[in-house]
């Protein structure tokens, strides 16, 4: 259950770097997911505290808002690693192999460009909050930590995009059929079967008895 695409792995340098980098990305995405679970716990604590002890969590809304940036951004590079950011592949799916890899590389280059621009813009947003001061509505939490998450995660996304560009250019240069370390448009039935098998293997017992 690792995501939308199965990423080919081999012994090439780009693939080895990809796997090392994935460890960092998966860790960050896990933290992001746990942050969602944490706001669930926070809301439960708030509702119980209010109903049972007349003491809601102090600054509940402020904490929620500060959390938002964490789960909105911590997984951004992980999502890209698996090609999870949505797109339309109707047209590019029709391209010949080499043209496809070149188009993909160019598309990643544009993504790299806008992400890099946003790294600087988001950093300046953080910097204003850090230098001039900024605080949340109710309990005056500093907002800079949550603002810092954005440029940091976008910078990590930039590194991932560089790996993608490298992977696609390598695929273009060597005319590879199944290049390593890049998300590919998937339509083959082998991969479908592979994914379905993975699902049933991974599920817990309560799911087993519902097979046809």
């Amino acid at each position: 259950m690792s995501g939308a695409s199965v990423i080919v792995e081999d012994q090439s340098l780009v693939s080895r770097l990809d796997r090392i980098f994935l460890k960092l990305e998966a860790f960050l995405n896990l933290i992001g997911g746990l942050a969602i679970f944490l706001i669930v716990l926070l809301a439960v604590a708030n509702i119980l505290g209010r109903k049972l002890f007349d003491t809601p969590v102090n600054g509940y809304i402020d904490w929620m808002e500060q959390f938002m940036a964490f789960f909105a951004f911590l997984g951004i590079s992980y999502c890209q690693r698996f090609g999870g950011h949505i797109r339309m592949d109707i047209v590019v799916g029709k391209l010949s192999r080499r043209w496809l890899w070149l188009t993909e590389a160019f598309s990643c280059l544009l993504m790299f460009g806008i992400s890099l621009i946003l790294v600087f813009g988001a950093y300046s947003h953080f910097e204003r909050a850090y230098v001039n001061g900024d605080s949340s509505f109710d309990i005056g939490l500093p907002t800079w930590p949550s603002k810092l998450v954005v440029p940091v995660m976008l910078a990590i996304l930039c590194l991932r995009l560089l790996l993608n560009i490298w992977g696609y250019l390598r695929a273009f240069y060597f005319n590879l059929e199944k290049p390593a370390a890049v998300p590919m448009i998937q339509s083959t039935s082998e991969q479908a079967i592979h994914e379905t098998d993975g699902l049933t293997d991974n599920n817990n017992d309560s799911d087993k008895n519902t097979k046809v």
């Binding site: 997911g33 969602i36 999870g84 950011h85 598309s107 806008i114 813009g121 817990n204």
Partner: protein
């Protein structure tokens, strides 16, 4: 050359930038980033025309840089990850499969039985899930493999799952109805209540559609027969937790326990406890939060990417132009309403539902209320036959149904992308093709809701005393 470029009218540039964004989307650029690039270039053009390039570049970079953080750090949006998480936890807790199994045993005998079961189990799951895309993602994993094994057309299997997912946004709890209520400052409880009957009506129409299609096409896919009554009864207890969660959410929102976010969180927590009781291991939980985290990031990235583009539209004042144009029309209000809904259908072709509502409602909602005769008008004196408050609720349900409709329309209907994303054997265009009949059914549903506002307003009138 540059002079000519800079002297373009802002509205015209808005249209050019929009066309450029669509071109990038069609060329396979990931949607969030295509929108962000378009938005940034638009801002850069706007500020260059105003200040000259040297100063404009810094201003555009900094303005663009405020948006990702600004747009995601709103506590109202916290409902979205919570409802996504609840969906994944319910999946790992076996609740979704239990629901699907029960629907299969009770409804499988119908023509196209497995697809009917998919429709009604997505409707049932809608009662614990507030997010359409999450519902489609979950059922793409459960229902599609079973339909394929029985020989259903893979495109239709994808389509029914994508369409079924949209039911989550009408049947309470619903994240998007909450967003609507917040934007137009209406009572969330009344809106959630109002969504219930239209949601059920939509599910019935989908179900009837599947039965009709199956009866016309013998190669459609076989019904599932032969479950004894005791086998049918046995399938029910595993679904009880869902009813328990529904009860919690209803008591929270209508019984004064807490806000929708809190209710959703309480629901998520209960599903989590049940998953633990059902034997969820750490690695299942880790998978659930990893998947929920990834899907949340995907949705939030689109939200801020589209809103970066919307910010550019704000600077060139395109939304106001639109409202002036609507306000200037001298014709039957129903015709105007029709135009507005058509505009939503067009916008929905290239914007996500949340971005679309965020962009348009501040402009469109007052126009609709004014068209009806003002916020304090009585039903008898109004243009649409609904009171001021009633109109706010009624239009909310219609516009959310409309936004849901856009989740299954090309080129960027999110539900279809999610189904295709989860199923490597399905391309997006496969799913779009499979969803076409549901697309037509939705048009009929929307027409029915417009013609008979009572379908929307009966329940909130009964339970919450809305006039």
């Amino acid at each position: 050359m540059i002079e000519a470029f800079l002297s373009v009218e802002p509205i015209e540039m808005g249209i050019w930038i929009t066309a450029f964004m669509l071109l990038m989307v069609v060329a396979g650029m990931r949607v969030a980033f295509a929108a962000a690039i378009a938005g940034f270039l638009g801002l850069l053009w706007y500020f260059t025309a105003k200040f000259g390039f040297e100063r404009a570049f810094g201003v555009a970079v900094k303005m663009a840089g405020t948006i990702p953080h600004s747009k995601v750090s709103s506590s109202a949006l916290s409902l979205i990850p919570v409802f996504i998480l609840i969906g994944f936890l319910a999946y790992y807790a076996g609740l979704t499969k239990a629901l699907f199994e029960a629907a299969k045993r009770w409804l499988g005998w119908l023509p196209g039985g497995m697809a009917v079961a998919t429709v009604f189990s997505t409707a049932g799951f809608a009662a614990v899930s507030g997010a359409s895309v999450a519902t489609s993602a979950v059922f793409a994993r459960i229902a599609i493999p079973e339909m394929l094994k029985l020989g259903y057309d893979k495109r239709f299997a994808g389509g029914v799952t994508a369409a079924g997912g949209t039911l989550a946004s009408l049947i309470p709890p619903s994240a998007i109805l909450v967003i609507y209520a917040i934007i137009v400052e209406q009572d969330v409880g009344a809106l959630l209540m109002a969504g219930f009957i239209p949601g059920v009506v939509s599910a019935l129409i989908y179900g009837a559609l599947v039965v009709g299609l199956a009866m016309m096409n013998p190669k459609f896919g076989p019904p599932i027969k032969g479950y004894s009554l005791s086998e049918k009864m046995k399938s029910l207890p595993p679904t009880l937790p869902i009813f328990f969660v529904v009860a919690i959410i209803i008591f929270s929102v209508y019984g004064g326990w807490g806000t929708p976010t809190e209710a959703g969180s309480l629901g998520a927590f209960v599903v989590f406890i049940m998953a633990v009781i059902n034997g969820m291991k750490w690695h299942n939980f880790r998978d659930a939060v990893m998947e929920a985290g990834k899907l949340t990031v995907m949705i939030f990235t689109i939200i801020w990417g589209v809103l970066l583009y919307v910010r550019f539209l704000g600077f060139v004042d395109l939304p106001r132009e639109f409202s002036d144009w609507i306000g200037g029309l001298e014709q039957n209000p129903f015709i105007t309403l029709l135009f507005i809904l058509l505009a939503y259908a067009v916008l929905g072709m290239f914007m996500d539902a949340i971005g679309m509502l965020l962009l348009t409602l501040p402009v469109v909602f007052p126009a609709i209320i004014a068209l009806n005769g003002g916020p304090d008008v009585t039903a008898a004196e109004s243009a649409f036959g609904v009171s001021g408050t009633g109109c706010a609720i009624w239009f909310g349900i219609i516009v959310v149904k409309m936004a849901e409709f856009c989740l299954i329309t090309p080129p960027i209907g999110l539900n279809c992308f999610v189904v295709a994303g989860v199923r490597p054997d399905l391309s997006v265009q496969d799913v779009f093709r499979g969803v076409t009949p549901f697309f037509i059914a939705d048009v009929i549903t929307i027409a029915v809701l417009i013609a008979f506002p009572a379908i929307v307003l009966w329940l909130p009138k009964l339970t919450m005393g809305i006039q």
